[in-house]
Symmetry: C2
Subunit: 318 residues, 2 copies
């Protein structure tokens, strides 16, 4: 299909479906050719029964990777043709135990030649290819089991969006945004406290002039996230990560992570030994972000914020 060279790999699903169809189409004709009264779709069920004697519907379904209604239907069809018999389990009345009949068993022998020839034909095709379809499928199955395509796409999306985000130093024009972004999330979860007003209304005086730093995340030149690195007045702790706020509209762009990284890099360049922070455990995504950045939960320490119920620290390399 020349079409797929134009669309690119996004049409992988469509292309797979077509190849599948082309191959399955011939399967029915092959059974006919060998005069075996069986439908291709029965094959997986037939196979497990021929190998393993008696099985229940769900056991078969699990083994061949179909849904149980699918197996149920197939067994019904095969029973009608006299290839299998169903019988109720005496000790467990729910179970329907299926096994091949004499006629079904006969087919297992009759079908051997066909299987040999099909295998020969497929191997012959494989021998003519430079890329091994069978092994490629096995690899894809494995990789998709590890992480679904969906989640990989989400990851790609996030990475691309993060690339559009720039982290810049605070400037007076971001004063309003600094306040608004913080008020937005604080008021959603808690009540604004006195200490909040102090730093949010006057960041220059209360953070920057006290040897602190503020970073702003820009997306399309819009400020969508902020975070402060505040100099602490404590012999054991050098800096505090605080006032981290990201607009809900700009989620999925790793903005919190980028701001955190910038803060950490800054602290290192300032020769800090550690970074301290305060948060609340109901803020699950925040806590997991701090963990991802390397912060660890630590023992209690005095704080002016009522909403704080967890404290974390990050030990920086010397």
């Amino acid at each position: 299909m020349e079409f797929f060279n134009k669309t690119g790999k996004v049409a992988l699903g469509s292309r797979l479906r077509m190849l599948t169809e082309k191959i399955t189409e011939d399967a029915a004709k092959i059974y006919q050719l060998y005069n075996i009264d069986m439908q291709p779709k029965w094959f997986p069920v037939f196979y497990v029964l021929s190998v393993g004697e008696e099985k229940t519907i769900t056991a078969i379904a699990k083994e061949i990777g179909h849904s149980h209604p699918s197996v149920s239907k197939i067994i019904g069809e095969m029973a009608k043709k006299g290839l299998v018999v169903e019988k109720k389990d005496k000790t467990d009345g729910r179970r329907n135990i299926v096994s091949l009949t004499k006629k079904g068993l006969d087919i297992t022998f009759k079908i051997q030649d066909q299987l040999t020839d099909v295998n020969t034909a497929i191997e012959a095709i494989s021998a003519q290819t430079t890329h091994d379809l069978w092994k490629a499928m096995e690899e894809w199955e494995y990789l998709l089991e590890q992480q679904s395509l969906l989640s990989r796409v989400v990851e790609a999306h996030k990475k691309r969006e993060a690339g559009k985000v720039t982290i810049v130093d605070y400037q007076p024009k971001y004063k309003a945004a600094f306040k608004a972004l913080n008020e937005e999330w604080i008021s959603r979860w808690f009540k604004l406290e006195a200490a909040d007003h102090k730093s949010l209304d006057h960041p220059e005086e209360n953070i920057l002039k006290k040897k602190g730093h503020i970073f702003v995340a820009l997306y399309n030149d819009e400020p969508v996230g902020v975070c402060a690195l505040i100099k602490m007045d404590d012999p054991d702790y050098d800096y505090e990560l605080a006032k981290m706020a990201v607009s809900p509209k700009a989620q999925g762009k790793s903005i919190g992570f980028l701001l955190g990284q910038a803060i950490i890099a800054k602290a290192i360049s300032l020769g800090a030994r550690n970074i301290y922070l305060e948060s609340n455990t109901i803020l699950k995504p925040a806590i997991s972000l701090y963990n991802k950045l390397g912060f660890k939960k630590m023992a209690g320490r005095a704080t002016p914020y009522e909403r704080c119920n967890i404290q974390m620290e990050l030990i920086l390399p010397a």
Copy 2:
């Protein structure tokens, strides 16, 4: 799926279907994620319209490799969502000309990011595989277009059956079979002639004692084909291939071909310059077999058989 390691490649179709399903399943969720009101199955149709402007239903179907009813249905659904408009062709009242609406066109832009991300994700998976699924599929498509799986299986079958056939020298116990096999086909097409009775009733006297040879093809120790190499009394021709007969029950095992090869090998070992034969053009499979063996049509020569209307010869290497 461990299951497929047990069944072997005969379950290629099933395995393909499952992989297809797994991938398609996520596709729908991906559209949702990007907030695009479109179904994955619309994509091929959408794609060709976004590239090529107006198209008729069948033109789209041909381009994307679907059946036309499928496209017809998809266009109906897309039209309901306002993504496309249909209009009758003025010069050809049968045609239904389809094009994207403004809304549909908007999606082409909106969808770009999604396509980029999906492509990134798929490329990332490909990078982790050692066998390239995409290229492998392309190779399979190409090879299946050249020769279908069905016909390759038929070929494998034939080859395997031919392996069970043995060609042996004539023995008195095959006298009846020699006669019966020949009478069977001759009487189906023609009337037995006087010359037939002579050689069929007394092959020893009329063929073997006159420096001729007879080969018998055995399948399960049953004689299912015969062929004679008869010494000719002609300065220009050394031997005649004649009395070739194969049981209809033993077709598809290349028996004629194997007998022919044996005859030719014998003639060469006897130092013959050529082999002559007589046949009739209504016997299409026979003529094509002779061609395959290397015989060429030649100019007329006297013959005792009424049914002969074509004469062929094979020049042997010196």
